[in-house]
């Protein structure tokens, strides 16, 4: 009897989970479906679900009108670049905070996090002017710099959490074994923190890939990543839902595929420390 109730409960929970999952996924599914419709079908009322004439025309049009691969490459350079530079700064910072904390370490961590609460638009004008004067507008290096700064608190926080899980005796053993600071970090700390570092890298690539505020405001054409590519299709001159959907699908596809293949690593990394 108890077992039957348990099975029923499990089935119900499964149904709810799937329901919530589908609800969250629905906008993406709808975007993907719409990208294969004609413009007329895209705005049809009542909406058509699957019984429309599937076409790849939107994709060809989008690629013809704007160079997808150039935007794609910009996105790759900006997200990977900002993540790597972020790591180079964050690993020593997180090491110091995790293993030689001072009286104010907690405050510094909180202060760094608080910068994430600042509305970006508040610093848009000064940053724009600085970028203009330094000739960084519409450059990839400029965007790498901004996104590194924006995501740095998250990288440091995540690495700090992972590093704290590593017993300090192992690092002390490395010191006794003749390792200097550099060897200690490169040969012992980083290899031991690989799962945590991997999820930090993945999450930051995703965040940087999806970042729209700064990429839209600080680029025009040359350095514009995929976010700007999508935005260019939401123009006021017409209702090009199908083309907009095709552009969106092309923009999110790489990160969606990467996220899919690395979901195990991501979940493991994000729950590392929380559930030991």
């Amino acid at each position: 009897m108890a077992r039957a109730v348990k099975t029923q409960r499990k089935a119900l929970n499964t149904a709810i989970a799937w329901g919530v999952g589908l609800l969250i996924f629905f906008p993406i599914l709808w975007t993907i479906l719409t990208s294969f419709k004609t413009e007329a079908e895209a705005i049809a009322d009542p909406p058509v679900w699957f019984n429309f004439s599937w076409t790849l025309e939107n994709y060809f049009t989008v690629q013809e009108r704007s160079n997808y691969f150039r935007h794609f490459w910009n996105s790759v350079v900006i997200s990977v670049g900002s993540t790597l530079i972020g790591l180079i700064i964050a690993v020593p910072a997180a090491w110091a905070m995790a293993f030689v904390p001072g009286k104010r370490t907690k405050d510094v961590l909180m202060w760094m996090l608080s910068t994430k609460m600042l509305p970006p638009v508040g610093v848009l004008v000064p940053l724009y002017l600085i970028f203009r004067d330094l000739g960084l507008l519409d450059t990839r290096i400029g965007l790498v710099f901004v996104l590194t700064m924006i995501n740095l608190p998250i990288i440091i926080w995540m690495l700090y959490t992972y590093f704290r899980e590593i017993p300090s005796e192992i690092l002390e053993a490395a010191r006794m074994d003749g390792a200097g600071l550099r060897e200690e970090v490169l040969h012992v700390l980083m290899p031991m923190a690989v799962p945590g570092m991997a999820s930090t890298v993945l999450l930051n690539i995703i965040l940087a890939w999806n970042e729209a505020f700064w990429t839209l405001n600080l680029t025009a054409a040359k350095a514009a990543p995929l976010t700007a590519f999508i935005a260019s299709y939401s123009s006021p001159e017409g209702l090009f839902y199908a083309k907009l959907s095709a552009a969106s699908t092309m923009a999110i596809a790489p990160i969606l595929i990467m996220g899919w293949f690395s979901q195990k690593q991501l979940v493991r990394g994000l729950t590392f420390g929380a559930v030991k």
């Binding site: 005796e169 053993a173 074994d177």
Partner: protein
Amino acid sequence: MGKITLSQVTKSFGDVQVIPPLDLEINDGEFVVFVGPSGCGKSTLLRLIAGLEDVTSGRIEIDGAEATELPPAKRRLAMVFQSYALYPHMSVRKNIAFPMKMANVPEDEQARRIESAAKALNLTDYLDRKPGQLSGGQRQRVAIGRAIVREPAAFLFDEPLSNLDAALRVGMRLEISELHERLATTMIYVTHDQVEAMTMADKIVVLRAGHIEQVGSPLDLYRAPRNLFVAGFIGSPKMNFIEGQTAAAHGAHTIGIRPEHIEVSATEGLWQGRVAVSEHLGSDSFFHVHDTGLADVITVRASGEIGFRHGDTIFMTPREDQLHRFGADGLRL
């Protein structure tokens, strides 16, 4: 060579001074054990020597050269930790090779030293395993192997056997003693277990609250403890302490007599009491005696099997030549 000298070394954490000014000399090739109850500062002292903690003031010399400010990596010391502290992502071979890799030892020399360390420590079959696949005793051997290959000036052991079960502990104790015989390198060993201290040490340093209470050979400490603390700490079971008239009769505030220095009899003796608990180990028998009028409990150790049971009356006679006399200040008279 591994002569280590500490002069007026102190250590404070914030306002708390855990090591008051301390002087200590450890000679080359000596096996020195730091022993004391938990929190007595023995591990801190070891970490100061290792360089893992900075001294607050004072001087540390290794082989006559100033080492106070040297980082751990430059002190030519090897350390074995209680938790083993192996590198979990490296195989046993790489763990052992790590200090040599840091010292840029040529590859063929590395291989030779790994081979000989593995052979000496029975690790040859496990060289390609990860630490996670080894038992506690094997992990501890790997940690020792990693220390040996450095050919250090001195070995530092921080309670290395605490995580092992009793049987393994005795085995590893012997292995470490043998290692010391073979290498004749200075070893500093921290433990709270006075049996380990007594069996392994050339020289025992008894610590309490960062103070050195006494330094000496195991038998010196056993025969002539300098104060009540050392008397009570060294020896198992503990020395009996008796105050009051009985002590006054010996011209002391407190007298101490070890359980093995009391003769027992069923019929006659100086002191009389009732057996509360009797423990029979076969080789020895321990009796915990109540109602003696001397102290709450008097513990007696007798060789072989002696048939006292709970509730029996027992007569005890201390060996006069083995009595220890202490003054009101706790110091030996």
